[in-house]
């Protein structure tokens, strides 16, 4: 049976050439992997344009594969453009990605955006990742309800923010729509915003990881020392939330906000699209949460929504074709157009500002480097930080949260130093 199936498999493989590592008749076939669902059609279009202009290269767009499995199997794509986060940063840390520092495109990228890459991981000072799209997040607000409550401008300090909440309350409008039902929504919104607005997130984790197994009361940083104040600030907003946020989920939040149930909503640009699908006429804007009374300290949350990398081990022909495709993707006009069209920000030096009013409130922060990657995004998935935050929101127990985080990181350090 094995034999027949094996033969059948070979026949199947032969019938349709596995797009990957073949070059015949002067045509090089490469796989481009990109799995962000919303923009699959957008990249399909880019790939088609590139293929039309380059008869010697055929790029196939793979949007279903699993990268880990591909590394295990050793059939990585020739070029990848996906979300860069702590998980993908392991590719960097383990040295399986190509060094792109020699490429001219590496010099096009704003240094403070490039620096976001190494906040998670680096490998011998190489440039393994080229940022392609920066998503910026803040507080989404309902423009009409702001007017209705008599709030003339977006708050720029914590006191102004609280004053705005009070105005909403006295106008009988729910100030903030909050959904604790999912374990990620509070983490990526409220939690990341208050922590990021009050402390230097990258610096905290740098010192935290340096402390390693000695993490504790005597180490320079700890969750107990540094996160207690932000967490208390975050809990102090509870009176301004909708009723029963624990029973509300992401979809409920989008729906409620779209129907004008609250003045503010702490979600990223992905939610903007969902809200508009429900109520296309809703006027919205975004501002970064001012977590302190020093307006100059206010920063917004960002993440490298898309970033390009090439695998380190790659046949020369594949590498050459991949670089040609990279040349095409990284043209400033292409990068900027993509980001403009997808409510994101271009990582290139001197890129034009995002013009959509939905997120343009974040322009000055992104362009001047006043941003941070969310405090929750530095936590490995083994530690269910989202669930811990959810529990803290329910019980109000800040000390329980910080000590759980400290001991989880200490255990992680003990394990990884073994």
């Amino acid at each position: 049976m094995m034999k027949t199936l094996g033969a059948g498999a070979a026949a199947l493989a032969a019938a349709s050439l596995p797009a990957g590592c073949s070059s015949s008749g002067g045509v090089t076939r490469i796989v481009f992997e990109e799995t962000k669902p919303e923009v699959v059609p957008y990249f399909n279009n880019l790939v088609a344009k590139f293929n039309a202009a380059h008869p010697d290269i055929v790029v196939t767009h793979d949007f279903t594969s699993n990268l880990i499995a591909e590394f295990v199997r050793g059939n990585t794509p020739a070029i990848d453009c996906d979300n860069y986060n702590l998980t993908t940063s392991i590719f960097v840390a383990r040295g399986v990605l190509a060094d792109l520092s020699g490429l001219p495109q590496a010099k096009l990228i704003e240094p403070n955006i490039q620096a976001l890459v190494t906040q998670y991981a680096s490998y011998h000072g190489e440039t393994s990742i080229l940022p392609y799209s920066v998503a910026a997040e803040g507080v989404i607000y309902n423009v009409e309800l702001f007017d209705k409550a008599g709030i003339s401008s977006v708050p720029t300090t914590w006191s102004e923010f609280l004053a705005a909440c009070e105005k909403f309350k006295s106008a009988n409008i729910t100030p903030i729509f909050q959904t604790f039902g999912d374990n990620w929504t509070t983490q990526q919104g409220l939690f990341d915003y208050t922590v990021g607005g009050m402390i230097d997130v990258a610096g905290f984790y740098r010192q935290l990881n340096a402390a390693g197994t000695s993490l504790g009361p005597s180490s320079p940083v700890s969750f107990e020392k540094d996160f207690t104040a932000p967490c208390q600030r975050m809990l102090s907003l509870a009176p301004y939330f909708n009723e029963n946020p624990i029973a509300k989920h992401y979809g409920d939040g989008n729906l409620a906000f779209a129907n004008g149930a609250a003045g503010m909503y702490m979600q990223g640009p992905w939610a903007v699209g969902e809200v508009l699908a429900i109520n296309p006429k809703l006027k919205m804007g975004t501002f970064p949460l001012p977590a302190t009374d020093d307006a100059s300290q206010t920063k917004c949350r960002v993440n490298l929504d898309l970033a390009i990398w090439l695998p380190r081990s790659q046949a020369p022909g594949q590498r050459a074709a991949a670089i040609k495709f990279l040349d095409y993707l990284m043209q400033p006009a292409v990068v900027n157009a993509y980001n403009q069209a997808n409510l994101a920000f271009s990582p290139l030096k001197g890129a034009p500002p995002q013009t959509s009013a939905l997120v343009s409130g974040l322009n000055p922060y992104v362009r001047s480097g006043r941003f941070y990657q969310g405090a929750g995004t530095y936590v490995p998935n083994t530690i269910p930080v989202g669930n811990y935050i959810q529990e803290m929101m329910l019980t109000g127990n800040v000390a329980g949260f910080t000590s759980a985080m400290d001991s989880a990181f200490r255990r992680l350090a003990i394990r990884t130093s073994a």
Partner: protein, 297 residues
């Protein structure tokens, strides 16, 4: 007794696959129980109504009230949108290929193995084999996942055939368990008489045992079909060439939390469900029609 058994066993499946022996005319219907079952069935029907209603609403209609309100006006456009999103006949045929191989393979491989084991239970080798196979019931999938990815790639089986083989192997313990329990309830005298008539072991299996195993084979087949058709992890990990990817993997992309328009998502689920439903309705007739009633023991 033996005569009756044999005619039913060998003759029934071929002559009349759907004989209703339990409810010949004139047998009193238990109406009390019927009403009770009808009430119980609401627990199933209400969530199903909910799913269908969800697929026929607009996002604005979704949020109002309990979710049980009748979807009016009906938004057939959701199905259209779902269809456009998953316009993947190739993925559909890949799913079908994997599922057909898995269903046939699972029934055959496990029926043969289970019969061989049960009929040789006196030998410790066969009992040990049984225990050995049962170990797999308790192996968590993640333990074997990455090594299997490596293995299938090394063998050139990083394609739908590999996925199907892994499905067959993964379900082997479960299926052997079901088959062997059923085989134990089949009187061995039947097979003995077949042998006396000169049947070889294989012929006995094919002509006597396999027909007797029809209900449990249908059960195994249904489980195999559902498991194989709906599987996401295995094909996503094992299949190297995205062109050969199965339906759930291709569909998943459009059903992740950030992009989900719940209504279109539900329309898409319901559509993906259709083939399963059809296969299921065909398969369950065999299980429930009670063709074997009275034919065993």
């Amino acid at each position: 007794m033996a005569t009756q058994v044999n005619t039913a066993a060998v003759g029934a499946p071929a002559i009349q696959p759907r004989r209703r022996r339990r409810m010949p005319d004139g047998v009193r219907v238990n109406w009390g129980l019927t009403v009770l079952m009808a009430i119980c069935s609401l627990i199933v029907l209400i969530p199903l109504y909910f799913a269908i209603a969800m697929a026929l609403k607009s996002p604005a209609q979704t949020g109002t009230g309990t979710g049980f309100n009748f979807p009016w006006p009906l938004q057939w456009g959701n199905f259209r949108a779902a269809w456009d999103l998953t316009d993947t006949p190739l993925a559909f045929s890949m799913s079908l290929l994997v599922t057909v191989i898995a269903v046939v393979g699972e029934i055959l491989v496990s029926a043969l193995a289970a019969w061989s084991i049960v009929r040789n239970w006196d030998h410790w080798q066969f009992r040990a084999t049984f225990v050995y196979l049962m170990l797999a019931l308790f192996i968590p999938f993640p333990v074997v996942a990455l090594p299997q990815v490596k293995l299938t790639a090394a063998l050139g089986l990083d394609n739908p055939f590999g996925v199907a083989i892994l499905h067959i192997m993964f379900q082997l313990a479960f299926n052997v368990l079901l088959f062997s329990a059923y085989i134990r309830s089949i009187p061995v005298e039947l097979e003995e008489s077949a042998r006396m008539d000169g049947c070889t072991t294989l012929q006995t299996f094919r002509r006597v045992v396999m027909p007797l195993l029809a209900p449990i084979s249908a059960t195994v087949g249904i489980f195999a079909f559902l498991q194989s058709w709906n599987d996401f992890m295995m094909p996503q990990l094992v299949t190297a060439n995205p062109k050969f990817q199965t339906l759930p993997v291709v569909q998943y992309l459009f059903q992740t939390q950030f992009t989900t328009n719940y209504n279109v998502a539900f329309a898409s689920y319901l559509m993906a469900l259709l083939p399963t439903l059809v296969a299921f309705l065909i398969g369950q007739r065999w299980v429930v029609s009670g063709i074997m009633r009275g034919s065993i023991k």
